[in-house]
Amino acid sequence: MTDYGHDLLFGTFLTPSAQDARQAIDLAVASDRAGLDLVTFQDHPYQPAFLDTWTLLTYVAARTERVHLSGNVLSLPLRPPAVLARAAASLDLLSGGRVDLGLGAGAFWDGIAAMGGRRLTPAQGVDALREAITIIRDLWDTGTRGGVRRDGTYYQVVGAKRGPAPAHDIPIWVGAYKRRMLALTGEMADGWLPTLEYLPDGVGSFPALNARIDEAAVSAGRSPRDVRRLLNIMNVRFSATGRGVLDGPVDQWVEQLTGLALEHGVTAYLIGGDDLPTVERFAAEVVPAVREAVARERG
């Protein structure tokens, strides 16, 4: 049993499709109206069929009221940290504190290179992400005097002006699967944001991967509780008979999500599929039941 005790967050993991831009916006607006906590969009700038995720996120933030927005996850190799920091803080100010920052070290390097980005090895990607997170937090930190100066291997900042400070403490969530990235997550991140379908053993991966994060957090003088565990679940549907994770009747969804929270400490669930009826049903029937069940078990 692992429960880090965070409050529960429920949201959507949406495709920033250019052809179905209206649908993407409708799904985000519906998520907001249905009372979900988070709307997140994939970020693949090299994918011609997709919109620019930051632009879409900003537009959607302007057309929603309560829901938080995040990239899931933003592609660091194509979004320099200083640009990200100022854009995220700006949107956080404009939206009244509704921005969270999902970050990834980069995948699909051919696509990244085709867009003019720098091709890195996985190990270099981890180091670049570490430098980036430091710079982003420095730029947000307007309480410290003087400009930001970081002479990293991948990113250099020379006396950059700080600010703007975001409206709220923007959490940085990292997409991580491998050993070094999990260690970085424990060491620095506010959250871990993997996708279920990419975990080597599905739900069975959690004990080992959580342990790596916990270990790294403790080594860095932090608490495992400092790292929220989030989860994307791409393939979901309501069906009459249970076939798998989030593929079954409502009761089974509730049972599975409650289990994920109490046994593996996962406290944010972002569902894919881009299907409005599924999103509405998730919000109306699953979310309150999971909240209730988890609250009951936690006592």
Binding site: Q19, R86, A87, Y155, A160, K161
Partner: protein
């Protein structure tokens, strides 16, 4: 003079006020919000501009004074470009490049503003509170009709006299810079970028639209009802579209004769729903989202076809506006030649504004969707050809299949059995079950309106087609072993992703060939094939020509001139050409199987 005014807002950290003032300027009819950066604002200009676009509906947005980012904060140019494209799609291109405005001092009076506006630029004035914005809104005055911002006007297309749009149509016309533009630019299967969409609501307004079109023959003209046209190009690039979608009334004229008057902009789903309470129906195609106007002037080969004939066989009157703006009522007695022509070649002769149809009694019918997997497509097609034509005329079955996968074809059958007796329905469907291994079946007693009602409604956001459909059509006298073989080979090529056979015969064949301009009364099937490359599909389809007897002009996108001879047999074409000379001598209507009035061949 008409003043185009905007506001300059400090893009300060007081985001709530920026949002509020931008919204006030937008609602008040101002043209432009300029976000001004400064040494202390720190807001990212792109994020701020997209945010303001998101909280407003029509106003243009510019930025000034942010300065270039420091070197280490340079975004990738390719990502910036992508962001701009995305913003254009999301905001209707309201983000303005450069600084194409003149800036007045805060509090400038009307005379000062007019002086600055003399060169036609939008004049922007710094504001700090709601009173400042209200003063500018008052200076602009009440908005008469639709006001377009300078940014919106910049998106106008060459060759269109936007100031000459007839007064009766100005309020509802849509241009590229308008917020509704994306909703009217594409159709169901086709992406488009028309320069102007006119949306008439009366025959008089249609005549006004046609007068405008006559002055614009140098750009394309499309006529749209439901926007489902394949051969009918109801959108275009840089041209004019006359969209009669708002003319969608459905009215029972005489219940004793089941006589109904229908506007061209209604969809068949709406027609079916309106007729159902009377226990009537009127067969259309196979999809309820299709509009009345396009189908009812072409034919209408539908799932009630064998039982009740083509849709055009139930027309009793067609009202249309001719190319010269004359309204005409065509019936068997009034303008009978035109009445003949619009039933099969209507797109060549005018814009229909109303149809009077005689519906028929239809109660519950059997509705079935069957999915069958076939490992021998040739045999399945041959068998379908036999069974579908041998079925009693209460039974109409359509077949759809696509690319075979791993040697297997998924055959979908759609059927209506016009009988309220479930026993009869089951009997009628039985012979179709051995076309393959039955893997899906859905069969129940239904109202025709429920079958048409399966098509989703098109919301205010309109259609989202992209690119150009690639489609060929043919009538088949029957499915011979060689035709089945050649069709199976075509499908095995993988170059056709959609293939449909619509079964004809029955009541369709009861009507003499010379009764309507749709002259193909005897074929057993209408076949449609859709691919991705027109030249490739043409080459493959042409090879099957020996099996064909003409084509259905609704479903063919081949633009080679000889297709006209497939659409119309020689004597029909000769008669149509004669009528074209009389009713549309300058060939204004030219987007869908145009008949050239000047040639004789």
């Amino acid at each position: 003079m008409e003043l185009a005014l905007g506001v300059v807002l400090d893009a300060s950290a007081d985001a709530a006020r920026t949002t509020e003032l931008a919204r006030q300027a937008d609602a008040g009819g101002l043209d432009l919000v300029v976000l001004r950066g400064g040494p202390d604002t720190g807001l990212d200009p792109w994020t701020a501009a997209v945010w303001v676009a998101g909280v407003t509906d029509r106003i243009a947005i510019g930025t000034t004074g942010f300065g270039p980012p420091p070197e280490h904060e340079m975004p990738y140019p390719s990502v910036v470009e992508k962001a701009r494209e995305s913003a254009a799609l999301l905001t209707g291109r309201r983000l303005v490049d450069g600084e194409p405005w003149a800036t007045a001092p805060a509090g400038a009076d009307r005379a000062a503003l007019e002086a600055l506006a003399a060169d036609g630029r939008t004049v922007v004035v710094p504001v700090t509170d709601a009173e400042d914005v209200a003063r500018l809104v008052a200076l602009v005055g009440p908005v008469a009709g639709r006001r377009r911002t300078a940014a919106a006007r910049a998106l106008r297309r060459a060759g269109i006299d936007y100031d000459g749009v007839p007064a009766s149509l100005a309020a509802t016309a849509v241009e590229p810079g308008d917020p509704e533009y994306l909703a009217v630019s594409s159709t169901y299967l086709r992406g488009g970028a028309p320069g102007l969409v006119l949306r008439p609501e009366t025959p008089e307004q249609v005549a006004d639209a046609l007068a405008f079109a006559r002055a614009h023959t140098h750009v394309p003209l499309g006529v749209r009802s439901g926007g489902h046209g394949v051969s009918g190009r109801s959108t275009n690039d840089g041209g004019v579209v006359i969209d009669v979608g708002r003319m969608n009334r459905i009215e029972v004229l005489d219940a004793s004769r089941r006589l109904v008057r229908i506007g061209p902009g209604a969809t068949w789903k709406q027609v079916a729903a309106a007729l159902d309470p009377y226990g009537w129906a009127l067969g259309s195609g196979d999809y309820g989202g299709v509009g009345v106007g396009g189908l009812a002037t072409a034919g209408g080969i539908g799932l009630l076809g064998r039982a009740h004939g083509l849709t055009i066989d139930r027309l009793r009157a067609v009202e249309l506006v001719l190319a010269d703006g004359t309204p005409v009522r065509a019936t068997a007695d009034e303008h009978p030649d035109l009445f003949w022509a619009v039933r099969g070649a209507g797109a060549n002769f005018g814009v229909a504004t109303a149809f009077e149809v005689e519906a028929y009694d239809v109660g519950e019918v059997g509705w079935a969707k069957l999915g069958l997997v076939s490992t021998d497509l040739e045999k399945s097609l041959l068998r379908f050809g036999e069974v579908a034509t041998a079925a009693p005329r209460d039974t109409t079955v359509f077949l759809v299949t696509g690319r075979p996968q791993r040697g297997q074809s998924m055959i979908q059958l759609y059927a209506i059995v016009d009988s309220p007796d479930p026993q009869v329905v089951v009997e009628r469907l039985q012979p179709f079950l051995d076309l393959g291994v039955l893997v899906q079946q859905e069969a129940f007693m239904a109202r025709y309106k429920d079958i048409m009602g399966q098509a989703p409604d098109v919301g205010p956001e309109g259609h989202h087609g992209q690119g150009e459909p690639v489609s060929r059509s043919a009538f088949l006298p029957g499915i011979t072993p060689q035709a089945a073989h050649d069709t199976a080979e075509l499908l095995r090529s993988g170059r056709v992703f959609f293939f449909q056979l619509r079964t004809m015969g029955g009541a369709i064949a009861d009507v003499p060939a010379d009764e309507t301009a749709f002259a193909h009364r005897t074929p057993a099937f209408q076949a449609t094939a859709m691919g991705v490359d027109q030249a490739d599909l043409d080459a493959r389809w042409d090879r099957l020509a020996e099996h064909f007897d003409g084509l259905y002009l609704s479903f063919d996108t081949d633009l080679r001139p000889e297709r006209l001879h497939d659409a119309f047999p020689p004597e029909v074409l000769a008669r149509l050409r004669e009528l074209k000379r009389r009713y549309d001598p300058d060939a204004l209507f030219r987007d869908n199987f145009p008949i050239d009035p000047r040639t004789t061949t």
